[in-house]
């Protein structure tokens, strides 16, 4: 009787094994990259009914975050401006600009701002970009009031002509900061100053720590603030989950 299996089958098992290793490794890599919030969210940049330009309003016109997101330091949710907040300025500025059509619709007026009879004021429907899961209870006030800036989670909003999702906002992301808040803490006055730069700030005003040495880096500064304000972020579940 001859060999039942041809000779080439001798190497076959080895080849299969090698291939398997590569496939599995590849899949793992792909999964661990694509299935993370980082890949899922970062860069998300939907079109808005009105392409509101943060760069223009904040960076050039120097508006404060709280003008529109007025409840950020009062409530858990930062709040999205109501139509009449926009209207405060735009009833005078950019009259009749086609970009602002949705706003006028919301206010029930026509191009030259004459109220339309019996118009139903349909609110503006903004597309949501930053969204933590329903079972996560993030409290804006609790953070901005303790020296954590908008920037830490939303990135350089003031440079964005069209807002996109900048940080992953995954649980790991939260934990990083809850474990080492010193990397993010800044003076309460500077929380809404998106151009803030720790080094620059520390050059301008001389700040000394306990030992009386001058603080120069964000880390040292953060440590100092953490100490002064006795900041101890929690890591236990109930901090965010209820």
């Amino acid at each position: 009787m001859a060999n039942f299996f041809p000779r080439w089958t001798n190497l076959l098992p080895l080849k299969i094994a090698v291939c398997l290793i590569f496939v599995v490794a590849g899949l793992t890599a792909a999964f661990s990259y694509y299935a993370t919030p980082k890949a899922q969210r970062v860069g998300y940049q939907p079109d808005q009914p009105i392409d509101y330009d943060h760069a223009l309003h904040v960076d050039q016109l120097g508006m404060d975050c709280r003008y529109c997101h007025s409840s950020v330091d009062k409530s858990a949710s930062a709040g999205v401006p109501t139509a009449n907040t926009c209207w405060n300025c735009h009833q005078h500025v950019q009259k009749g600009s086609p970009k602002l059509a949705p706003l006028r619709a919301a206010m029930g007026v026509d191009e030259d701002h004459a109220p339309i009879e019996g118009a139903v004021k349909k609110p503006i429907k903004w597309v949501r970009i930053h969204k933590s899961p329903d079972y996560v209870y993030f409290n804006h006030a609790a953070h901005v009031n303790r020296g954590v800036s908008c920037q830490s989670c939303h990135g350089d909003i003031h440079k964005m002509e069209k807002v996109h999702h900048d940080k992953s906002l995954s649980m790991a992301f939260c934990l990083d900061c809850h474990r080492e808040p010193e990397n993010h803490l800044r003076p309460l006055e500077e929380v809404y100053n998106l151009d803030y730069n720790a080094e620059k700030y520390l050059l301008e005003n001389e700040i000394k720590n306990e030992e009386g040495e001058r603080v120069t880096t964000q880390k040292e500064f953060g440590e100092l603030l953490k100490k002064n304000w006795s900041i101890h972020p929690k890591e236990s579940c109930a901090t965010c989950h209820r």
Partner: protein
């Protein structure tokens, strides 16, 4: 949504009303009824839809089912392209006043009730009322009962009446307005039937109506109103007089068959509880037995008041006057009792000693008669009180200002005489169902009914008007002590309902106010109420605003009434005492749904009856002896049922004769009385008077084809999914002459059984010192005496704790309070600012369900339905255990001790260590946290929880409506209950748990968190206002601590007896909770396991009168356990 349309033939669009059982399948569908659409638009202007994607609108807020779905899908595909579905943020167009997105707003209002309005603080989210709290400004010791807590669900009841009905068929508002115009003819004889509550505005309008309609007659009806009591008081103190009790002055209280603590309130009870604290309400005094009041009660079946009583006399209600007479005579009256029982020696002694005690405390005592008891008793009660000189001291006769109103009897007679062209029913009662003979009589007139439910009366009436809930309407009311309280709307009527005042005003002005026009024109009721206020208090805007803010008007009260003439009752005639052959039937008030008006309230239906622990049904309760006499049980049942094993009878915690769990079925009996019959399930009630059958009222309003006893379909239109096939209608046995009790009843077994769902099926402590008890009286046990002080000291070592040492952990304890210094220094693990704890004072806890329901409202706890409860799957985070204990083996007269059990937040929590996925771990501030989104449902934690305080979502109780027959078991095929109105009640700060997740009490962590956030905001202001740079500002832990006792948990707020104390251990002695924990009465439940619970109990103290019969046995439930 289409698939849901399919299993919903009558879509809300084309069939707006299909009787009581209509429910929306989804908010989306809900919108399509355009009336609700603009209700939505006006009320929660798209703002409420904030942060919901279109398809999310179907899903209830904060339900994270979809999230799970999404995330697992993502995990499955793991594609870069796949983002979460686009979602929208829809801000208001014009920001409404006060509203800050994500922040609740609180308003003061009050709930009108027969025995005095309840001042409330209402929490609203995005314009949706979500939670009711007692108005602590009004009375800082006041709480609310379960009815008040649950009343918010009535507003969102999907089966609530929404349409005008003409003879039960849908009609338009316009038609009704026309009909109303015809009726409102000045010459017409119109009868108005009000409820028992007192509303100044209504009283004022009544006068105006009198003026307009000369022949108008005014009646007052509630099925459980005590007419005898009113008449008695009227006879003595003048027409529509009322007597208000002031318990805080009373040292001795004698209740003659009155459950004045819960179902038969005759005045604010917070005073009574104040006098139960032996260490003072703030736990800041030394334990002092003298400080404690003493409560005597003579009653038939156990009531919660009876459970609190220091001395309880078990006697047939019909014979209570005999005792009363005995006492009266002891006090110097000379009343001759004809008929009835001849009091036994003990009973005589009981009365004598009680009388002595009362005399000794003349002027510092109160005697109360059950308000539904006979006129004889009422008179005797007044006699005794006046003999004791209690009037003007502990009792105050006042003029309620109701105006002289007729009762149901006179209404029916005048109907039969055909004297009324039209009757306008404004009472919360449901006369067609609950008033004997009304239905026939009403045929002779035009019946106009204003009500919240499509109940029997609504469907029988010529016209039914959908009422506005009290949270939707402008009105005012009087609290029990007569303070003027405001009833202000928190939301526009969801279904454009009509308030009582609107209707009355419509008759006056001839045009019905349309609440949908509100905003353009101010509500007419608003004007009316304000006018009344101006008349009674002050017309200035300032005081009006203060009134609205406080919710009540400080210096307002009833006008005092003067004693006109003394009672002159020389003889009383009693029905012969009940016997085996001719029993006595008591038509009891139901602890869950009162008189039946709350039948559609799922929370209340599922809340176990405080005494019988029966959910979703009512039963006939009899004493063990009577049960045996009736032949429904072959032997007299013991508290700890014995069982036969291997032929030997043992005390083996065996299954009772009715079965247990899902097999629990009670025998049916046929009750014949007043020449009428009723088949009703019967149950043993320990401590119940012999030969007396108590049947709670309010059930059996309608049945469909699924009914277990095949009683349906019957009155199907009168009920909703919640109230269909529930219990037995005992109104059928009741006549207007026997409103409270009927004698000469025959009861025989019907050889059938009916399944009953109970949350507690074992009623004794089985020799375990769980709910501990001591007595102020010296206690002598086999020679060794223990006085009060010694007993207090002994609390901690009752039961097993007297000899068995607690289990010691191998590790050095690291529970967050007891950590050793090194760990304490580690701020990462130990929180210097707050360590939370709770104490429950069994001395004040009466075992009502207020906390249970409040918790349900606060924490989005689902209802699971009768079958699931029977299987032991109820979701209440608080399990209200109540134990009977028979000291000296006197099983006929046991004591009753309640014990609410929720998660104890053990510092060394057995549940934590066994969770494989770290879903439940300890928090820095001593909470035993539960991360629902991490839980995979191994259920090991619940097994390892000695207190069985954890609840598991066996089904999607939130998503699948558990009330639809077998719906839960249909899985994906089942009907979804997503987006139903009750979901609008949900607390947005608490996750709605999905199927397969464990849940439990978390000390209302959402409240704790918001308190912390508040502190931070406050400090930020301080830091920035300071002027200098915030960098230099120092913030100490002490500053960062929430204000002393500022965090109040839901159950604590609701508790009417302030038995629950919650607070921060780090506040030290300043915190009430720390003081109460330091009390010697403080003990840990199951101390032996060494779980170091953060929730601890304070032992109950009984204050017996040493010379009373059986005084020795009182307060010894656990004291002799070793």
């Amino acid at each position: 949504m289409s698939n849901r349309k399919n299993n919903q033939p009558d879509s809300a669009v084309n069939a707006p009303s299909n009787g009581g059982t209509k429910i929306w399948r989804s908010l989306g569908e809900l919108e399509s009824t355009e009336r609700f659409q603009d209700a939505l638009d006006r009320e929660f202007v798209d703002g409420s839809a904030q942060m919901e994607t279109e398809e999310e609108r179907e899903v209830s807020r904060r339900s994270f089912m979809k999230l799970m779905g999404a995330s697992s899908a993502l995990a499955g595909m793991g594609l870069a392209a796949c983002r979460r579905p686009e979602s929208l943020i829809v801000p208001f167009t014009e920001s409404p006043e006060w509203s800050v997105p994500g922040k609740p707003v609180h308003f003061a209002s009050s709930m009108p009730r027969a025995n005095g309005a309840v001042p409330l603080v209402v929490t609203t989210h995005d314009g949706r009322p979500t939670k009711l709290e007692p108005n602590k400004l009004f009375d800082k010791h006041a709480g609310t009962d379960s009815f008040t807590q649950a009343s918010i669900l009535d507003m969102y009841d999907p089966a609530r009446s929404r349409d005008f009905l003409q003879n039960g068929a849908q009609a338009s508002r316009a038609d009704f307005e026309k009909a109303l115009a015809d009726i409102a003819d000045p010459s017409a004889n119109i009868g108005f039937v009000f409820g028992d509550d007192v509303s100044p505005t209504r009283s004022r309008l009544m006068q105006e109506l009198k003026a307009k309609f000369a022949d108008a007659r005014f009646f007052q009806y509630e099925p459980l109103s005590g007419d005898a009591r009113k008449q008695a008081n009227a006879a003595v103190f003048g027409a529509d007089a009322d007597v208000v009790v002031n318990f805080s002055r009373a040292k001795v209280v004698l209740s003659l068959d009155s459950d004045f603590l819960e179902l038969d309130q005759q005045g604010s009870v917070s005073g009574f509880y104040k006098n139960r604290f032996i260490e003072g309400a703030g736990y800041n005094k030394k334990a002092n037995a003298k400080a404690m009041n003493r409560l005597y009660i003579a009653e038939g079946g156990f009531s919660l008041t009876g459970g609190m009583a220091d001395h309880r006399l078990r006697i047939a209600p019909s014979q209570v006057p005999a005792i009363a007479a005995e006492i009266a005579n002891q006090l110097g009256a000379s009343v001759l009792v004809k008929g009835g029982i001849t009091l036994s020696a003990t009973e005589k002694q009981w009365a004598a000693e009680c009388a002595k005690d009362l005399k000794a405390n003349a002027g510092k005592s109160v005697v109360l008669a059950g308000s539904r008891q006979s006129r004889e008793l009422q008179d005797l009660c007044i006699t005794i009180n006046s003999l004791l000189g209690n009037y003007g001291k502990t009792l105050k006769a006042v003029n309620s200002g109701r105006g002289n109103l007729g009762d149901m009897k006179s209404l029916i007679s005048s109907l039969n005489k055909g004297q009324l062209d039209a009757v306008i029913l404004l009472t919360p009662g449901n006369p067609v169902y609950d008033a004997d003979g009304f239905a026939e009589a009403a045929k002779k007139t035009k019946l106009i009914h204003l009500g919240l439910r499509n109940d029997a009366t609504a469907n029988a009436a010529d016209w039914h008007v959908p009422a506005a809930h009290y949270l939707e309407s402008w009105s005012d009311a009087r609290t029990s002590n007569g303070s003027l309280a405001v009833v202000q709307p928190l939301i526009l009527p969801l279904y454009n309902g009509v308030s009582e005042n609107d209707l009355l005003l419509a008759l006056l002005d001839g045009k019905l106010f349309d609440s949908s026009k509100d905003g353009e024109t101010t509500s007419v009721s608003y004007d009316a109420v304000r006018k009344t206020f101006a008349a009674l208090a002050d017309g200035s805007d300032k005081s009006w605003l203060k009134f609205l803010r406080d919710g009540f008007w400080k210096d307002s009260s009833f006008a005092a009434a003067t004693t006109l003439n003394a009672v002159s009752r020389q003889t009383i005639n009693l029905p012969s005492a009940p016997s085996k052959g001719s029993l006595e039937v008591v038509f009891a008030t139901d602890g869950s749904i009162y008189d039946g008006r709350y039948a559609n309230n799922a929370w209340l239906q599922e809340a176990p009856d405080p005494i019988t622990k029966v959910c979703w049904d009512n039963v006939a309760v009899v004493s063990p002896k009577t049960a045996k006499d009736l032949g429904v049980y072959d032997k007299i049942l013991k508290l700890q049922p014995k069982g036969k094993v291997y032929g030997i009878e043992t005390e083996n915690a065996g299954v009772g004769p009715d079965g247990e769990g899902k097999d629990h079925a009670n025998p049916l009996v046929k009750v014949t009385v007043n020449g009428r019959e009723l088949e009703v399930a019967i149950m043993i009630g320990f401590g119940h008077a012999d030969n007396v059958v108590s049947i709670a009222l309010g059930y059996g309003q309608g049945f469909d084809e699924h009914d277990e006893l095949k009683r349906g379909p019957k009155n199907e239109k009168d009920v909703s999914l919640v109230s269909v096939n529930r219990g037995f209608n005992s109104y059928a046995l009741r006549t207007n002459n026997t409103p409270y009790l009927a004698t000469g009843a025959k009861v025989e077994s019907a050889n059938k059984r009916y399944s009953i769902a109970m949350t507690q099926e074992h009623h004794a402590m089985y020799g375990r010192a769980l709910a501990r008890e001591i007595s102020t009286m010296e206690h002598d046990h086999h020679g060794h005496k223990a006085d009060f002080a010694a007993q207090i000291e002994g609390v901690k070592t009752q039961g097993m704790d007297s000899h068995a040492p607690e289990n010691i952990s191998l590790y050095k304890q690291k529970g967050s309070e007891t950590w050793h210094e090194k760990a304490q220094a580690d701020k990462h693990l130990y929180d210097q600012r707050q360590q939370w704890a709770m104490t429950i004072d069994l001395n004040n806890c009466i075992g009502c369900n207020a906390c249970l329901v409040a918790c349900q409202a606060e924490n989005n706890i689902p209802v699971v339905g009768k079958e699931q409860v029977a299987m032991g799957r109820e979701m209440h985070w608080i399990r209200m255990d109540r134990y009977f204990s028979a000291t000296d083996g006197d099983e006929d007269n046991p004591e009753m001790i309640p014990q609410p059990v929720a998660c104890m937040q053990c510092e060394s929590a057995p549940c934590e260590t066994v969770c494989p996925v770290n879903a439940t771990v300890h928090s820095e501030d001593g909470l035993n946290t539960m991360a629902y989104n991490r839980c995979i449902g191994t259920r090991y934690c619940a097994n390892n929880c000695p207190y069985k305080a954890r609840r598991f979502n066996f089904f999607d109780y939130n998503k699948r409506n558990p009330l639809i027959e077998k719906n839960l078991y249909k899985g994906p095929g089942g009907k979804k209950a997503v987006g139903e109105a009750p979901h609008l009640q949900r607390n947005p700060n608490v996750t709605v748990r999905m199927r397969g997740v464990m849940e439990k009490c978390t000390y209302c962590v959402q409240r704790i968190q918001s308190a912390k956030a508040k502190v931070k905001a406050r400090l930020k202001k301080k830091a920035t206002i300071a002027g200098g740079s915030s960098v230099d500002v120092k913030m100490a832990d002490s500053e960062l601590r929430p204000k002393l006792d500022s965090v109040r948990v839901a159950c604590q707020d609701a508790c009417p007896s302030s038995a629950i104390t919650f607070g921060n251990l780090q506040d030290g002695d300043k915190a009430k909770v720390v003081r109460s924990r330091n009390s010697a009465r403080n003990y840990e439940l199951l101390h032996y396991i060494g779980t170091l619970p953060r929730t601890t109990y304070l032992a109950r103290v009984k204050n017996p009168n040493p010379s009373m019969p059986g005084a020795k046995g009182i307060g010894r439930a656990t004291i002799e356990m070793y």
